[in-house]
């Protein structure tokens, strides 16, 4: 048993679990994709190069950037690429030794601080303001001649649009830093606003989120990175260029950070995203953002009316996702976000992301996407309502869940405990032998 988007609503916040169009699978499975070697002569892979060139230019248009690299294999590798570009930029300006700090808000995805740290930067965390957005005063305090850049997602992980973004960009730029856009939440603003126009210098997008390629149980994905014109020369090599007649691999980027992978990229994923954008067109992408946001606000309204659940950080419109808290439920019934998540599984829906972002207590982060019909949104609301009613009438029912899944509650503590950790069959057999010896 395995739950996928095709099984039912999968409202995992920040993951954009949208429907994966089947025609894109059919196209990515063609021999002309699968049975091609990346080192074949450019004349023999013009088809792939054309798709890569066009996809890169479309992504540049969608994100408001100038040039795009399709090399990164996932969002996190895109982030690493972006932060390495920040590093190379300051290095070229002779400022790397001094500019050693990357600023991230406390509501950021975990990949942001992890990527900054992988690129050798110190991470400076700034607390969010009372509205859940970047606290402009705190940012002013945090920037200095040590600031290399700021990593931000907009809308943020609460699903709230950072209205002060232009001021934020000015503060960082004036301090000499660069702005990095974490594209995990791009689905909310497709065709409405572009990170490049907000002042971001570097942007990554997740093709497996916003552009509908399947998540495959955890991957593969693709995390293209776009940059403004002044940073083009820092992109990983090669990029695909076009001389008017033929597409070719261009290694002529003077300040390139090098490579983040030894081949061209996750080409199979790129082909799917290419087909998706062709299917959607400008109107379709904008409509995706509109309905994703509409679905999300509808759910936010209906779910926050249910007893025990609140929508922290006010009534402002949310974008593609929102974060509920069940703190009230917990204090009144003992039922936590994790219990709610487990009981929801019994109703045939996937649970939201829980305990993230860390700034919300008992957080349930919900992203329905545009590909769920109103009936499935209502089904999720009914499931939440039942869980709430149970929590108040017979909490033990919720605390003991799930019941309707292929296995009952899994012992995750035992799984990670050093004495019982078992990550291969060999370790399992070794343990059996040791315990047999022990019992003799």
């Amino acid at each position: 048993m395995n739950f996928g988007v095709d099984s039912g609503i999968y409202p995992l916040g920040s993951c954009t679990m949208k429907y994966n169009p089947k025609v894109n699978e059919a196209l990515a499975n063609l021999d002309e994709v699968r049975w091609v070697h990346p080192d074949q002569d450019e004349s023999e892979i013009q088809g792939i190069l054309e798709i890569m060139y066009k996809l890169a230019s479309w992504l540049a248009e969608i994100t408001g950037t100038h040039a795009v690299s399709l090399q990164p294999a996932a969002g996190a590798q895109g982030e690493l690429t972006g932060v390495l570009i920040i590093r190379a930029y300051h290095k070229l300006n002779g400022e790397l030794g001094r500019r050693d700090e990357i600023i991230v808000p406390d509501s950021a995805h975990g990949t942001n601080p992890a990527s900054a740290s992988m690129a050798g930067f110190k991470v400076v965390v700034i607390p969010s303001g009372e509205d859940g957005c970047v606290d402009v005063e705190a940012l002013k305090e945090a920037v200095s001649e040590r600031t290399a850049g700021l990593m931000l997602t907009n809308p943020n992980t609460l699903g709230i649009f950072e209205e002060d973004i232009l001021e934020i960009a000015d503060i960082v730029h004036e301090a000499g830093g660069l702005l990095y856009y974490d594209g995990a939440n791009l689905n909310a603003i497709l065709g409405k606003a572009r990170p490049g126009d907000m002042g971001f210098d570097i942007v990554h997008v997740n093709l497996h989120k916003t552009f509908s390629t399947p998540h495959g149980g955890g991957g593969p994905g693709a995390g293209p990175v776009g940059v403004k014109e002044h940073l083009e020369g820092f992109l990983p090599v090669p990029v695909v260029s076009f001389d008017g007649e033929r597409y070719y691999l261009n290694y002529d980027l003077p300040n390139s950070i090098g490579r983040v992978r030894s081949t061209l990229g996750n080409v199979g994923v790129l082909v799917r995203a290419f087909a998706y954008i062709l299917s959607m067109g400008p109107q379709g992408l904008e409509r995706a953002a509109e309905v994703a946001v509409l679905n999300s606000n509808y759910l936010a309204r209906r779910l926050s009316e249910i007893r025990g659940f609140t929508l922290p950080y006010g009534e402002k419109p949310r974008k593609h996702e929102f974060v509920l808290s069940c703190s009230v439920l917990k204090s009144e019934t003992g039922v936590t976000a994790k219990h709610v998540a487990k009981r929801l599984l019994d109703y045939g829906v996937h649970a939201p992301t829980i305990y993230f972002p860390p700034i919300v207590k008992e957080a349930l982060m919900i992203e329905p996407t545009e590909t769920e019909p109103v009936e499935s949104l209502d089904r999720l609301v009914e499931a939440f309502r039942s869980v709430s009613e149970e929590a108040y009438s017979r909490p033990e029912k919720v605390l003991g869940s799930p019941y309707n899944t292929s296995v009952g509650l899994v012992d995750e503590v035992k799984a990670s405990s050093p004495r019982t950790l078992c990550i291969t069959w060999k370790m399992y057999k070794d343990r059996l032998r040791t315990s047999e010896r022990g019992s003799r």
Binding site: S117, G219, I277
Partner: protein
């Protein structure tokens, strides 16, 4: 017409949602985006196209590619053409696997969890290692992560690699290693047989050495035989031994766990994954069973456990406190999305082959390699291979004694529908006019004969 992928893109549904929110239109939900940054016109991208047209358009572009089925391709290096059993496609295209994400809710994800546990188990059997993660992006990022992992374990910051390493992989390694202060050094290899120069290695290892890395088979296809001596030298200085492998060789060659490897990396693409013009691929990463090693592994790991009531065996992600979503800037890596579906495909592939299948596969490739070497060496002016050592899958073809360059020959070969080896001059100038060729179980005797004839003709032609 409503958008086929947006079910609520109908008047009725939209009206219902808007009424529930008491707003006149969706625009109300975007009013908080400052006017200055609102997009004033539509995005300048093509579409929308109906499904039939999307299909036609993408197919017509892709027709401009020629595939391994249209050409006789002798390229390897980073990816290789291997047979993919139909069962692999069948299992991995199950939408329960394909359309799921990272199994955060194990109770509804036992399928992918068990598949990935079995991947970890079988890859460890193959490598003779104790623990593996359930994938990183590709061999090159696995190598970068291994260098970082070795540095964390040893608190030392020099990583020594062989001279004949894939130039692309080396660049990625440096991209990953250098920002955190890890220095990458090269150790010499014997020009005659490719063996690691032990004298040079002894001079280069020190108390700063985090690890020594060896690839087996090497990037240029030769087998490094003195691996135990290398292991001893690095272990004596308190560093780790990291080995890079081609998993298809392990049905006939000794597994790295057997000759002292502490961390093993490699490319899992040959295990049931297509070349896909370079991706998705499958980065293999495994280590010894010491907890201090396992705790430093990047990426997701799946463990076997039971249900809370102890009644059933079950699987879930383990040791997540290593990972970015919990540990943030102190995580072992930033990796989140990985190559899970490619790992699942590898699991199906390994289970299909079993030990016998791997032996047959390895023998088949070994025979093909030796056959190709034997045939091509008979051509005048051609030296195959450059190194006096057993070769597997990859081998070097040198044209210093011939009248044409590698690229001249490749051009002529292509006219005959043959894709010659990758030129090595820019990476290893000391090897002269040399190309890296590769054969797998998919190359038929006729293909190798055609290459021989093509090469002969190419050199004879004016």
């Amino acid at each position: 017409m409503p958008n086929p992928y947006i079910p609520n893109d109908t008047e009725d549904s939209e009206k219902r949602l808007l009424e529930a929110l008491s707003i006149p239109d969706v625009e109300a939900l975007f009013s908080d985006i400052p006017k200055e940054i609102r997009l004033k016109s539509s995005l300048k991208i093509p579409g929308p196209l109906p499904e039939a047209d999307v299909k036609r358009e993408v197919e017509s572009i892709l027709k401009k590619n020629r595939t391994v089925k249209d050409l006789r391709v002798f390229l390897g290096g980073e990816v290789w053409p291997h047979h993919v059993p139909a069962v692999v496609d069948e299992v991995s295209s199950r939408s329960e696997f394909l359309t799921s994400y990272t199994p955060y809710q194990p109770e509804v994800s036992q399928g992918i969890l068990q598949a990935l546990f079995e991947y970890q188990s079988m890859i460890c059997e193959l490598l003779e290692m104790d623990a593996a993660n359930c994938s990183v992006y590709d061999w090159s990022s696995a190598l970068g992560e291994a260098a970082r992992m070795a540095a964390r374990i040893t608190k030392r910051y020099t990583f020594i690699v062989p001279h004949y390493i894939s130039p692309e992989r080396l660049t990625v390694l440096k991209t990953y290693a250098e920002p955190t202060g890890i220095r990458v050094l090269k150790v010499k290899q014997d020009v005659k047989n490719g063996e690691i120069d032990l004298k040079d290695l002894k001079e280069k290892v020190s108390r700063e050495t985090a690890a020594v890395y060896v690839e087996n088979p090497s990037y240029l296809g030769f087998i490094v035989e003195h691996v135990e001596a290398v292991a001893e030298i690095v272990h004596d200085c308190g560093g780790l031994f990291v080995v890079g492998v081609d998993p298809t060789s392990l049905g006939i060659f000794r597994p790295p766990g057997d000759y002292g490897a502490d961390i093993v990396v490699g490319e899992g693409q040959p295990l049931g994954n297509y070349m896909n013009c370079g991706g998705p691929l499958l980065g293999i990463m495994a280590c010894r069973g010491k907890l201090s090693f396992i705790r430093q592994m990047p990426g997701r790991m799946i463990g076997m456990t039971t249900t809370k009531d102890g009644s059933r065996r079950a699987y879930c992600m383990v040791l997540q406190t290593r990972e970015q979503h919990i540990r943030r800037e102190r995580a072992t890596s930033n990796i989140c999305t990985n190559e899970a579906l490619c790992a699942l495909r590898a699991a199906v592939y390994m289970a299909l082959l079993g030990p016998e299948g791997f032996r047959e596969l390895g023998e088949n490739i070994l025979y093909k390699t030796q056959y190709a070497v034997k045939r091509l060496s008979q051509i005048e002016g051609v030296r195959v291979p450059l190194f006096d050592a057993p070769h597997f899958k990859g081998f070097t073809v040198n044209l210093d004694g011939a009248s044409k360059t590698i690229s001249e020959v490749n051009e002529r070969l292509l006219r005959r529908g043959i894709v010659g080896g990758k030129p090595l001059r820019s990476s290893f100038p000391e090897l002269g006019e040399t190309a890296l060729y590769s054969v797998t179980e998919l190359h038929k005797v006729e293909d190798i004969r055609a290459l021989e004839e093509g090469l002969r003709k190419a050199l004879e032609e004016g």
